[in-house]
Symmetry: C2
DNA sequence: CTGAAAGCGCTTACAG
DNA sequence: CTGAAAGCGCTTACAG
């Protein structure tokens, strides 16, 4: 201690204020934090000096000392995926209302970084975690977090049998509904391009699609090879393969809107028109599902609301509420648009 | 309420290891950080104990002590906007290669939070900042950061006259090119729906569009009211107004793809078909610019690469390189697609 | 009401 | 080569 250093941009600390005010640094801390321990006029004087010096508290020091923070972590597998960034937007908004900030990390598509990212948040004393894009294999991480008593909420995807809060929609029901809508147009020869079975959401949707078909006495023409990635590329490849195989298809049910985009690419390449030659359904209700000539029949998932609810659930856990795991199912909206209307080729 | 220490799960610290090994905590620090100060066999023993205890260093303590971090901050005005999240993806990737992490913050659309978010990164000893969505009015923040000697790189948008690194494309030239492509189809009565003039990118694009028109002896039919927001809503509203005013238009040049989406909505509502009734150009080259029947003529901005280059520029500054501000202009790609082809109504 | 002291978990000159 | 000590910037029992 003693001499002040002449750093180029040494920021003022609590000690600088204390020195200027002729009090202890503890008094400064009390004054700045509305804690008892200093009288009103001293408090005022200290605050004046703090303002004058342009003092900003060090969040690092505070966290280190208290072991707490008004901050939650949000893990994004791919920051480029609007499905999850919209949840993030809702989460940030809801958190900010409660005076929490959310620290977002992006795994760059490599799920092997999930564990290390989650630990990073814990190591920074984040008070809870919002987890997205969970896969079946992530149970070990959830076990670890639970053992460490870190509050966690699963957003949309989940790991089965984990006693942890979750918020999402009833994927199975929604999927059954959209299949039913499609069947009502008379199409019978239907292919199914689902997501990966390791995603709880994709699995539930596939179950619903199949339930819907079964109730009409049908099964997808490409059973059991219905699983794949939820990328545009995968949709394109799988649709192209179906077309090339000469399978006579009247409709394709897609596990999500992005897959449907890939199918549309394949239709364009093969000169098929939608819905005349081929009907199509998506899932998610992304913004691009409705642009100009393209009007995809889909299920609108309330993504922002999922983010907001996730935060609220998490904050209750952070506050110490102790109750059995909550499953929060939000309402969804079925959007029936032009990719399933228009002339049906089938006769039902 | 009150303080609930996560007591149950006390994480091991350097001191626990020291105690277990019968050495000082300093020795542990040396051993774990490859610093000299401990012999090889002691080092090995200490590491063994650390592993055994499941030790993870506290990033907070380290930052606080050293005042440094291998972490950079990335500010996103809106995490929901794919134009910028793709830059973020590139940035995270490039940073990770160099052993840096990037801490992403989202301002929820409120640019008043920009200053506070930027300060937050600085307060956390982030070693540099990647700034996006900068507007003309953000000069004061940049001044402050420069005074504080915080390395900064501007991504895409910039504030004029700021002696700071920047990476982007030549918006003016690209805009002139796309206007020229449109003019080559014979359309003469053209409207311009630009972004806000306070965005350096929107302004440069507008300049380029106008240059292109001027070279053909034309000006936009809606001059000088060409400015607006870069939202789908704004595109819809502005196009609807033009249509309602009965202005005879053969084409609309849009400041970006999202605006073009709104124009497409308006075309759909008014029964106009693209490009027969109305030609259309976008800008950005977003993924949704090319889905099935919609094939928008646009300029593809290398978004990921901008993120990567931004990181590299920033890391050089962090490493202490001292040279005049760099303007890094990346190549772009003109995508001429169906919204400008097809029957021209004009005669050139 | 007030202040001195200890300590969060590290790193790093500095002596031995 | 080794370890003791100081300190990063805070907070919070604790004693006066």
């Amino acid at each position: 201690m003693g001499e002040s250093r002449s750093g180029l941009t040494k920021r003022p600390t609590i000690n600088d204020i204390a020195r200027a005010a002729g009090v202890s640094s503890a008094a400064v801390s009390y004054a700045l934090n509305d804690s008892p321990g200093v009288g009103p006029e001293l408090r005022k004087r200290i605050r004046g000096i703090a303002d004058e010096l342009g003092y900003r508290p060090s969040p690092l020091a505070r966290r280190l000392k208290t072991g707490r923070s008004r901050s939650i972590g949000l893990l994004l597998a791919d920051i480029t995926n609007p499905f999850y960034t919209e949840m993030a937007g809702g989460a940030v908004e809801a958190a900010s209302v409660e005076g929490y900030e959310v620290s977002i990390s992006h795994l760059g598509g490599s799920s092997s970084r999930l564990v290390e990212a989650a630990r990073g948040h814990v190591d920074r004393y984040e008070s809870g975690l919002l987890l997205t894009s969970l896969m079946e294999g992530d149970g070990a991480l959830l076990d670890e977090l639970r053992a460490a008593r870190v509050p966690v909420v699963q957003l949309y995807r989940r790991v089965v049998d984990q006693p942890l809060d979750w918020v999402g929609i009833d994927d199975r029901s929604a999927a059954e509904e959209i299949a039913t809508v499609l069947l009502a147009t008379g199409r019978r020869r239907i292919a199914l391009l689902a997501g990966p079975p390791t995603s709880s959401a994709s699995a539930a949707r596939a179950r619903g699609f199949r339930d819907g078909l079964r109730r009409a006495g049908l099964r997808a023409v490409n059973e059991p090879d219905v699983w794949g990635e939820i990328t545009r590329r995968s949709g394109f490849d799988r649709a192209t393969a179906l077309f090339a195989a000469g399978t006579d298809i009247e409709a394709i049910i897609c596990g999500n809107d992005v897959i449907a985009l890939g199918v549309l690419d394949a239709c364009r390449d093969t000169g098929r028109s939608v819905p005349d030659d081929l009907a199509l359904t998506g899932f998610d209700g992304m913004e691009f599902a409705s642009v100009g000539p393209l009007q995809l029949t889909t299920v609108v998932v309330p993504r922002e609301e999922i983010g907001r609810r996730g935060v609220r659930l998490l904050l209750r856990r952070i506050a110490g509420e102790d109750h059995p795991p909550v499953d929060e199912m939000l309402p969804y909206e079925l959007q029936v648009r032009t990719t399933t209307t228009g002339p049906a080729t089938g006769t039902a």
